[in-house]
């Protein structure tokens, strides 16, 4: 069996297990390539039926407009339900406070909005597009990953996950994060997108953009970034390797405006994907801490 077929089939199996085992699942949709891949896999798992779950977007309000346009067009095309949980609302309700300072980002605030959204809708399983090759804490996470009522992940209390059997039993208040593309690498995702001819938000491809340099990384100049006189704006040809909050997603200089060029670039690349996310740089154990705190 070809490796992409095998990965695809495993992911479809996992999505159908979610449908079979949970009362109220949801698919966390960020507008990034991994969650776009999940949507295609869900189509393959459930068509001609409807998805047995809505899409949920946790919206920081600091989006690339291209992503939101893509999201709305996609939802229209596939005819599925979209629920938006807004970080702005969490701020308005006083549940979180906007960060200040030069490196202010809403990325960390998302966790609260996510947990509130889960609670408000009573979701018992949230499907996410995380992959084990992204980061070393993720390398140890199960495909069905149980969270307590505070959304916390406890790496020492993970259930053993054997063969292709997934234990989705939980107590009231707990929920499960499910990662159907755990075994895919970044390159696998790109190869799959090419094979399936899946359209992506345009920011994944090289384009001209005003940027500033922050902590050694290129950031898109935007109203969401706290800029001062020291920040010099230059127009560069860039693309983004991940789609996140505008204030913490770094660009890479690139001429790759076609998927083939991107795949060539990634194959030769010397920066791993999460390396382009400033929020992981804060400490070596950053991801582990955020997972324990209920982040995706």
């Amino acid at each position: 069996m070809d490796y992409l077929d095998e990965l695809e089939s495993e992911s479809i199996h996992i999505l159908r297990e979610v449908a079979g085992q949970f009362e109220k699942p949801a698919l966390l949709f960020s507008g990034g390539k991994d969650s776009i891949t999940l949507v295609r896999l869900a189509e393959k798992a459930f068509r001609p039926g409807k998805f047995p779950f809505p899409l949920v977007h946790i919206d920081t309000g600091h989006n690339f407009e291209e992503t939101i346009r893509y999201r709305d067009e996609m939802v229209e095309r596939i005819g599925e339900r979209l629920i938006v949980g807004a970080v702005q609302q969490s701020i308005n309700e006083g549940k979180v406070m906007e960060q200040t300072g030069k490196n202010a980002s809403r990325n960390a605030l998302q966790t609260v909005t996510l947990l509130d959204t889960i609670q408000a809708h009573g979701f018992d399983a949230c499907i996410g597009g995380a992959r084990r090759d992204e980061e070393k804490a993720r390398a140890k996470e199960r495909i069905f990953s149980v969270r307590d009522e505070f959304g916390q992940w406890d790496p020492k209390r993970q259930r053993p996950e054997l063969w292709n059997i997934y234990n989705g039993k939980i107590h009231k208040g707990e929920n499960v994060r499910v990662f159907p593309i755990s075994n895919w690498t970044e390159l696998d995702v790109w190869n799959y997108i090419r094979r399936e001819k899946i359209a992506l938000p345009s920011i994944y491809f090289a384009h001209q953009r005003d940027c500033i340099t922050r902590n050694g990384q290129l950031m898109a100049a935007s109203p969401f970034l706290n800029m001062d006189d020291e920040d010099i704006i230059t127009n560069r040809k860039v693309r983004f390797r991940t789609v996140g909050d505008m204030s913490c997603t770094a660009a890479v200089e690139s001429d790759a405006d076609q998927i083939d060029d991107i795949i060539t670039e990634i194959t030769a690349s010397k920066i791993s994907e999460r390396g382009a996310r400033m929020d992981d740089k804060v400490s070596e154990a950053a991801m582990e801490d955020r997972k324990k705190g209920g982040y995706f």
Partner: protein, 413 residues
């Protein structure tokens, strides 16, 4: 290009993490920022080179203790194959993690420290590999640099291991002398051990044939989900969604639905936009039957001329994975593919001392204990013997008080 899933067994000191780190490093699978993090780390080898083991030590607790405490998955690929590594700890408390890592692997790498040879934990690891019936085993005799790359040492260890392999019924064993620290025979052939004429580890892993997609086994597909759009245009549409566990289903094949034991013919096989003539092991598809039968999640479609075993009383090997000891007086849940049933442990036949491989009578199972039990299930299970059909011969036990996965089961009759 296909996928090879392998797991590595070895103790904290056998250099297992270094071996995996070396595979990743020498295949250029470490990216610049990871390498940068490595160089900033203050863990170095005695000779000042980077400690590659850091690449697989994921969690903070491990970094602090310097040991691997859980299963970590790592990925790399060459032009020939995509590899998925389950890095599993070898320390005795963590037998459950090794069983977990082995359950999804097609191949096991067993590490032996050339200075120590076959020791108690080699027996333990090899026993687990035999229990989970892995079809391919590579014994890496590591730290050859510490025994002056001596061929006699290597051969003596092979001789000793052969006896063990024979006792355990292990087949397809390959022996490779390596130094993970120095890189000998991991990716490139050793420049020091000219007496070794075999392949490097990576070369072997790229070439080895793993036939885990045997399309000739009896066909099985558990139903995970029934697709019924119930729209005007698809009013009578009823498709059974699942992943083929074994064998091949063809259009017009006569199939039986268990446990209801009703038969029908396959009228259509769908995969997204395509109609297929057949679906084989590993594929996730939608199957339609000619007759309107009541089928739901937990049922299994099987080839009518090769039926599985159907029973409520099942003999199985059990690996206990929970800190709470097994309690024969309580009711557990058994999850066998998409089927969930209540069950009890009716009898403990024996427990195995995994250091000596001796079997003895027992009345309890503690964390990491392994042995044979008889299960009594509330509902009939339709299963195969693990040795004949891994996917339909395995199950997990769930403690309904805690919802934890407490046991791994391999059906034996």
């Amino acid at each position: 290009m296909n996928i090879l899933k392998f797991f590595t067994a070895g103790s904290v000191d056998d250099g297992k993490s270094t071996l995996i780190g070396r595979l990743l490093y020498d295949t250029d699978s470490i990216l610049a920022d990871q390498l940068e993090a490595l160089q900033h780390s203050n863990r170095k080898n005695d000779d000042g080179t980077i400690d590659l083991a850091i690449l697989t030590d994921g969690l903070r607790a491990e970094r602090e203790q310097g040991i691997t405490i859980d299963v970590a998955y790592k990925y790399f690929q060459t032009e020939k194959r995509k590899f998925i590594i389950a890095d599993t700890p070898g320390h005795i408390q963590y037998t459950r993690n090794m069983v977990t890592g082995a359950s999804t692997a097609n191949l096991a790498i067993i590490l032996i420290d050339a200075r120590n040879g076959v020791v108690e934990q080699t027996i333990r690891h090899s026993y687990l590999v035999s229990l989970l019936e892995l079809k391919h085993i590579v014994v890496c005799i590591n730290k050859m640099d510490m025994v002056a790359y001596n061929e006699t040492v290597f051969n003596a260890i092979i001789e000793k291991y052969k006896t063990l392999a024979q006792n355990l019924g292990l087949k397809n064993v390959t022996y490779i002398p390596v130094s993970a620290l120095k890189g000998d025979n991991i990716v490139v052939p050793s420049s020091t051990m000219h007496w070794y004429e075999g392949e490097s580890l990576l070369h072997f892993l790229e070439q080895v044939e793993v036939d885990d997609h045997d399309t000739t086994e009896p066909a099985r597909m558990p139903v995970q989900w029934v697709i019924r759009p119930q729209t005007d245009e698809l009013h009578d549409y009823r498709g059974y969604a699942g992943r083929v566990l074994s064998g091949t289903f063809k259009l017009n094949d006569y199939v039986t639905v268990l446990p209801s034991n009703v038969s029908s013919t396959i009228s259509r096989i769908e995969f997204f936009d395509d109609d297929l003539l057949q679906a084989y092991v590993g594929q996730s598809v939608i199957i339609h039957l000619k007759d309107n039968i009541d089928i739901s999640r937990g049922d299994i479609l099987v080839n009518s001329s090769a039926l599985p075993i159907e029973s409520k009383r099942i003999e199985a090997d059990l690996c206990w994975m929970d800190a709470r000891v097994l309690d024969p007086s309580i009711t557990y849940l058994i999850q066998h593919n998409s089927k969930l049933s209540k069950c009890k442990i009716d009898e403990i036949i024996f427990k195995v001392d995994i250091n000596t491989l001796e079997k003895a009578a027992a009345d309890d199972f503690k964390l990491n204990d392994i042995g044979r039990v008889v299960l009594k299930t509330a509902e009939v299970l339709s299963y195969d013997v693990y040795g004949d059909n891994r996917a339909n011969g395995s199950a997990i036990l769930i403690d309904s008080r805690t919802n934890l996965t407490v046991g791994a089961l391999m059906f034996r009759n």
